[in-house]
Amino acid sequence: MIQKKVCILGPTGVGKTSLIKQFVEGIFSEKYKTTIGVKIDKKQVNREGRGIQLLIWDLEGIDRYCGFNPRYLRGASAYIVVVDQTRSQSLTEGMEILELAKEHYPDIPAFFVINKTDLPTSWHWSEEELDTCSQKFALLTKTSAKTGENVESLFNTIAFW
């Protein structure tokens, strides 16, 4: 069985933990809970008789006052930067996080996730600006942890990247 480490990064409150909960357990909790430190979950993904076990490291919410420990990314097969399309600030912070991660681990593929698609878009970024941002990632996926939209396919893609 192949095992892959995947890290999830992003500013506080963008729905990282909910995303994982949706993927691993298939549920969405309305209750908000800040992640402290690292939370690790696992889930097996199968395609064409081949199984990959994902070990998903959910890093605590990152904001501009406290950075994150880039060491957590070590040995990861991929990392995901999650932003929240209802908060403009989250994209700025997400891009800062990406820069920091790339600085330490330039070779690990980064996946761009815009979350909360179940809610109306309320940030002020234009499509062009978004395009510019997503150029720096391997892939852009728009998800909803609440409805589960694109969540499964996101992790499936990462598993067999």
């Binding site: 192949i2 095992q3 480490k5 696992k42 070990l55």
Partner: protein, 587 residues
């Protein structure tokens, strides 16, 4: 045209020559060079080449396995004796090891059973385990073991993924991969939080400890070895872990460097790790003592089994002995069986026969081992009848004036002699005749002198005796077959008894002054002519008379008479000789 041809030929030729000069004709130089050092060239790369090809398409194995199998097969066929010789000591050692391992396990299990089943300690432990919400088995482990390595994890250092894990308790193994990742995360956290510039490795966790639980973390260049240990850890464990980690790196160097998340390459590392999954029980001496108890229980059980089977065997032998031994006369064995550790024998025994217990003793059988169930019966065996007769005579109640003795003549005839009063004689006579089976015994009472107790009484008694004898003789008859007058053996034997009675009668008659005549009446049935019947009955009477005379009866008192044919309802009644005794007082 012709000018152009030579240069092209020249060019071709020179190229060929240059090639020949450089590498020789047909690559000879290159080949020579290669041949010269072929061994060296191949030996430098053979292992790597094999490994590379094997990991590429697995074809090396496919080629080698049949070859190895074939040559192994041939080698065994050709050198079977040699191989047997080599394997022999190994097989012996293997068998011994397996047997001793089995015995040790058995003893340990017995110990565990004795210790853990219902001892007060185990009940107390169960209660405490329940109280503290721990599984009983875990509580026992914490109480029994000084320390125990419960789980070992080998973790890839960079990714934090689990490479392999083994556990003393397979139930606990399920979340080892998550634990591994978390452990690495914690390690990263520690290194980050307390790290001194750039010197990260020195700040990695080596140990995480609670009151009774320790995670020992050994860090290698590519992998971590983590041991979850309960109890207090002896120093040699750390050494062992270090050694195992170093071995792991040595054996799996290549897969570790090229690790891409696939654990298949590490599947065989169990043997490396198993050495570290150690434990030590508390109270080393106690263990020995308990092992001794287990061995003792086993030993006692074996001895007990041996004794039981020996007892059973000896009982079976005894049982068959009882069937084969010749039992004394008057005793018949009807059944034997084994029950409650004893042989039971059902026998029929005549009260006059030998005592069975003393007979057992005489034949070397312990009477305590045999339960005799005795039923009385009457034996008609001659020796038993004679014994009864002897007993009767020896113990016969006599007055002071009387004597009685029994002697055997020729081993077959018994002579009763002595002086007795008539009453005694009568009673004795009656009792002798009542003995079952006495008819086949020859008894002579002619030497028994019957005397008068008192003159008057004596004559009266003698008269009674006379009357009895007269009745007895008169009631006798001798039966013949149709148209027969000769006496058969059976009839002769009857006549013998009759002759004795007649002699007694005469002797009593003499004493009582009585004259006796016996009319011997021959008769026949009414078949055939009456002349013939008359003749037949005459002959029968005469034959009886003659044989009585030959048995010692005075001829003068016997009067043969022919009755001729008797018209009786049952014709057989007529074919007989009857006696009638005539008595009258002497003048």
């Amino acid at each position: 045209m012709t000018d152009k041809v030579p240069p092209s030929e020249f060019t071709d030729d020179s190229l060929e020559k240059v090639r020949e000069l450089l590498i020789g004709r047909d690559n000879t130089f290159v080949r020579e060079k290669l041949d010269h050092d072929a061994k060296g060239v191949v030996s430098n790369v053979v292992s790597e080449a094999l490994l590379e090809r094997e990991s590429k398409d697995g074809s090396v194995n496919k080629v080698l396995v049949p070859l190895v199998e074939k040559s192994l097969h041939r080698s065994i066929e050709a050198n079977s004796e040699k191989i047997v010789g080599t394997l022999y000591p190994l097989v012996g050692a293997l068998v011994r090891k397996a047997v001793s391992a089995f015995l040790v396990e058995f003893v340990e299990r017995t110990n565990a059973l004795i210790e853990n089943s219902l001892s007060p300690k185990s009940i107390a432990w169960r209660f405490k385990a329940w109280q503290s919400g721990v599984k009983y088995s875990e509580y026992v482990a914490s109480q029994i073991y000084q320390y125990q390595v419960q789980q070992l994890l080998v973790i890839h250092r960079e990714t934090g993924t689990l490479l392999h894990s083994i556990s003393a308790d397979p139930d606990k193994q399920k979340d080892a991969d998550l634990i591994s990742s978390m452990l690495v995360a914690i390690n990263d956290f520690v290194a980050d939080a307390f790290g001194v510039n750039g010197n990260e490795s020195e700040n990695e966790l080596g140990e995480i400890k609670t009151e009774d639980f320790t995670l020992l973390i050994k860090i290698g260049p590519q992998a971590l070895l983590v041991a979850a240990v309960t109890g207090s850890i002896p120093p040699e464990i750390r050494g062992k872990l270090q050694q195992a980690l170093e071995d792991f790196h040595r054996f799996y160097q290549q897969p570790l460097i090229n690790y891409d998340g696939d654990n298949a390459a590490f599947a065989g590392c169990e043997t490396l790790l198993a050495d570290c999954l150690v434990s030590e029980k508390k109270e080393g001496e106690g263990k020995k003592a308990k092992r001794f108890i287990g061995a003792l229980v086993l030993f006692i059980a074996l001895i007990g089994l041996g004794i039981l089977s020996f007892m059973r065997l000896s009982l079976s032998i005894l049982k068959s002995d009882l069937h084969e031994l010749p039992f004394p006369p008057g005793v018949i064995i009807t059944d034997t069986y084994i029950s409650n550790g004893k042989v039971h024998a059902k026998i029929l025994r005549d009260p006059a026969a030998d005592d069975i217990e003393s007979w057992f003793k005489d034949h070397g059988i312990d009477p305590n081992r045999v339960v005799v169930i005795e039923e009385p019966f009457v034996s008609l065996k001659t020796s038993i009848v004679e014994r009864k007769l002897e007993k009767l005579i020896r113990n016969y109640p006599l007055s002071e004036q009387e004597t009685l003795s029994l002697n055997s003549a020729n081993g077959s005839k018994w002579i009763i002699s002595g002086d007795v009063f008539a009453a005694t004689a009568m009673r004795l006579n009656q009792q002798i005749n009542n003995l079952p089976g006495i008819s086949s015994t020859d008894i002579d009472i002619s030497s028994l002198n019957v005397k008068a107790e008192y003159q008057l009484d004596s004559s009266a008694l003698q008269k009674v005796a006379l009357t009895q004898l007269v009745n007895k003789v008169s009631s006798q008859s001798v039966l013949f077959a149709t148209n027969q007058d000769a006496l058969s053996e059976v009839q002769l034997a009857t006549l013998e008894g009759l002759a004795n009675d007649v002699k007694q009668l005469l002797s009593v008659a003499k004493k009582t002054n009585t004259v006796v005549s016996i009319v011997v009446m021959g008769a026949s049935d009414n078949s055939g002519s009456s002349a013939r019947n008359r003749e037949l009955s005459q002959k029968r009477a005469e034959n009886v008379v003659n044989s009585l005379i030959s048995l010692g009866v005075e001829s003068s008192i016997l009067i043969p008479v022919s009755l001729g044919e008797l018209p009786l309802q049952n014709p057989s009644m007529g074919r007989s000789v009857m006696l009638n005794v005539l008595v009258s007082s002497a003048l």
